[in-house]
Assembly symmetry: C2
Homo-oligomer: 196 residues x 2
């Protein structure tokens, strides 16, 4: 019934898998701009084969990133399951950026979530879907300042992505420290600056 696209020949399926593995590694190491022939070489396959399977870079990303972004769902779920809404919120941020810190491709993907292909973009936004609820719950509990919105979370992702890029190699704890300062400014009682 839902046989979907045509079945692949065995060698083709094998190569496709090798490409996905290589792409996952290379993108995680070098970011979303990594040269495609590095990926082909790591997969032990020619550049032409890569293009056979994935006609564009975006197609390759769309085959890889949704799976990687699924980790976001677990983090969101854990945040909502936390009995303390504030701890849930803070833990969500911690988990989100830890994810970005260990995978350059996620770091890039979340930053560019709007300018990427529909598939990837959807996956990113899906990951943020729950964020809205996590934020509202923490605000309802009175611990998170009321003027923090989900757009501010996007901004924070931008900010932290750069901190991660610049510091992961040399001082991998830097982003946690930066986040700690920021989070302290998100507590309801810390709010001083009036924001509309």
């Amino acid at each position: 019934m839902a046989a979907g696209p045509k079945p692949l020949r065995s060698d083709a399926a094998r190569n496709r898998d090798k490409l996905l593995v290589a792409a996952t590694q290379v993108f995680a190491e070098r970011g979303l701009d990594a040269p495609l022939d590095h990926i082909a070489r790591r997969a032990g396959v020619s550049i032409g084969t890569l293009y056979n399977h994935f006609p564009t870079r975006e197609a390759l990303l769309a085959a890889i990133l949704p799976q990687r972004l699924a980790a976001l769902d677990e983090i969101s779920a854990a945040a909502l399951a936390d009995p303390d809404p504030w701890n849930g919120f803070a833990g969500f941020l911690e988990g989100l950026f830890a994810l970005q810190a260990q995978d350059h491709s996620l770091n890039d993907a979340l930053v560019q979530s709007f300018s990427l292909s529909t598939d990837v973009s959807q996956a990113c936004h899906g990951g943020f879907q729950q964020a809205e609820r996590i934020i509202e719950r923490a605000q309802a509990s009175g611990r998170l300042r009321a003027d923090f919105g989900s757009q501010d979370l996007v901004t924070l992702v931008w900010a932290m992505s750069q901190v991660i890029r610049e510091s992961m190699e040399t001082a991998p704890e830097t982003w946690r420290r930066c986040l700690a300062f920021f989070v302290d400014g998100l507590r309801a009682e810390a709010a001083r600056t009036a924001l509309r």
Copy 2:
């Protein structure tokens, strides 16, 4: 006596000026990675002439950035002149990022301040020289949390640089909003997370 390097011929001096003007514009618009031939074209000069005057990209930057970075000194001075040390500190951040927001080249330069040529690097660090004093003064007044160090300022520059890059075109107030959250977390009484 201090005649310095040989005087330039009139046409050469004119071209050099045109190059500096063009480079200032192009780098401000496109960032420090802007293609050099764009600069030559905007200056109405051939790429060879650009290389005659500035054998490397770094040499060109060294001729431009120190002047642009001088604005930092004024901002620092104003911060130290403010009778309220906290307002001085907060105003310094505001001024610093406003500068980054209006000039892509400064944004890039401050981020890469360590990996740039000695000349430029010195200019960047010179701009940060006073920052140490601004921070200490604000801490002595009891308003700035004690665990904020000048390395954290570098981290904040990284963070804000990305916010600026991503949002200046579409929502130019975003960085101010982000900074407001962050600054609220830097007040002494906001400190909750223990940082060593």
